[in-house]
């Protein structure tokens, strides 16, 4: 399963799933696979990396070295996870790292993890970009953005007739995402819409929806390069 995916360079991987309602609000989010490229090192005073606060996190702004890249955030200090720009005991991280008394210490750097708020904002941002993609079309009758391709991931979006968007982020080589999107729509209508306790356009908190979604993702990943799932 996962080890095979790692050996093949993660060729059959779905990273995450987002469901956006017709107003652009995020109603469901699931991270299936998050590759981690964290680097932990022991440092002595003074730190040769230049750090600054960006987006309420402490990030490397200069001094890229040893796998620690510009843009990486401080994830933990001496094994204790940091919370944004503060440590768990509410001390400011930058102040702590500027005090020579605290050294030597071990700092773990890595790509910043998205907070729930950021995911909400990004989902709404994509909702608008989807519409602008349709407006700027040189051909009449265009839909919004259906596939967005980058060199590290491919984003697939399926908009239903009622305006709900199912968004899947996967490896660029992963096949069968179109049928996965239709399958997720099916699971949504079976386990969320038919659930009498679920209100439309609200966040989805249905166990059966989550369980069946995970099964569908596993099936899609396995069948990824062979053919589309039924």
């Amino acid at each position: 399963g996962r080890e095979e995916a790692g050996r093949e360079g993660a060729a059959m991987v779905v990273f995450s799933v987002y469901v956006v309602n017709k107003a652009g609000g995020l109603v469901y989010q699931h991270d299936n696979y998050s590759p981690r490229s964290d680097v932990e090192k022991t440092f002595s005073y003074p730190l040769d990396l230049v750090l600054k606060v960006y987006d309420e996190r402490v990030v490397v702004s200069f001094g890229q070295r040893d796998g620690i890249k510009v843009g990486y955030a401080v994830l933990s200090v001496n094994g204790m996870d940091v919370n944004g720009r503060y440590m768990t005991d509410n001390r400011d991280v930058l102040e702590y790292l500027n005090t020579s008394f605290n050294y030597p210490l071990a700092i773990r750097f890595g790509r910043p993890r998205l907070t729930s708020n950021e995911k909400l904002m990004l989902a709404s941002m994509f909702h608008s970009l989807f519409a602008i993609g349709s407006q700027l079309s040189p051909e009449p009758g265009s839909s919004g953005i259906e596939v967005l391709e980058t060199d590290t991931f491919k984003l697939h979006c399926f908009q239903t007739l009622t305006g709900i968007k199912f968004i899947v982020l996967a490896d660029p080589r992963q096949a069968g995402i179109d049928s996965l999107l239709r399958k997720i729509y099916e699971i949504y209508s079976d386990y969320a819409l038919k659930n009498p306790f679920y209100s439309l356009e609200m966040p989805i908190r249905c166990d059966l929806f989550e369980q069946n979604l995970k099964v569908a993702l596993e099936v899609a990943e396995k069948a990824g390069t062979i053919g589309t799932t039924s």
């Binding site: 790509r111 051909e139 009449p140 009758g141 953005i145 259906e146 060199d151």
Partner: protein
């Protein structure tokens, strides 16, 4: 069963091409000693494919968001807003997509955003290290044309605009030579076909 049927037609072809007409093959000689490397149906598909593919338009933005150049070849629908507003909207969309991709990417990336497609068109994006952005809208059949956009930058933009002492780099490009060179380059692309009407 089908395998033997294929062998059967193959020997028929070799025997003198009497069945050539039935298979729809157009052969120069009467007999073909080798199996056809390129079957006629594929050739027909290729010519049909070329008719469908085309380039709609092209934008060039500098790093401050000023549209330096815009050309269109096959554009059927306009955005319903003024040209300037359209340039601003396009640049704003690209800026937001870049920031979106930066945040969403699960691993460190080299090139970042490459392209997106809708049901009717595909937008290709290329950004240089100096923040110059080249955007080309094409038909859906076109694959990765990053090297073509890179060629537009290095052989046309750099040669005719950057190296031109009369061209100021922060203003829309006035050079007529640039316009014609770019136009003929795009018209010469393998996936370009000027559609009638």
């Amino acid at each position: 069963m089908s395998h033997s049927a294929r062998l059967h037609t193959h020997t028929h072809r070799q025997r003198g091409g009497k069945e050539g007409g039935r298979n729809g093959e157009i052969q120069g000689g009467r007999r073909s000693d080798k199996p056809a490397a390129r079957t006629p149906p594929q050739a027909a598909q290729r010519s049909a494919g070329v008719e469908e593919m085309t380039v709609h338009n092209l934008y060039i933005f500098d790093r401050n968001g000023i549209c330096l150049h815009y050309s269109e070849w096959n554009r059927k629908k306009h955005a319903g807003i003024s040209r300037d507003q359209e340039y601003q909207l396009m640049y704003g969309m690209l800026f937001s997509i870049r920031s979106f991709v930066n945040k969403m990417s699960p691993v460190d990336f080299r090139d970042g955003f490459l392209s997106f497609q809708t049901s009717k068109y595909k937008l290709h994006y290329y950004e240089t290290a100096t923040g110059l952005k080249i955007v080309m809208n094409t038909d859906l059949g076109v694959g990765n044309i990053r090297d073509i956009l890179s060629q537009i930058y290095s052989t046309i933009f750099v040669e005719l605009v950057v190296k031109n002492p009369l061209c100021s780099l922060n203003e829309p490009i006035q050079s007529e030579l640039f316009r014609t060179k770019l136009d003929s380059f795009v018209r010469g692309l393998p996936f370009f076909s000027a559609r009638a009407g």
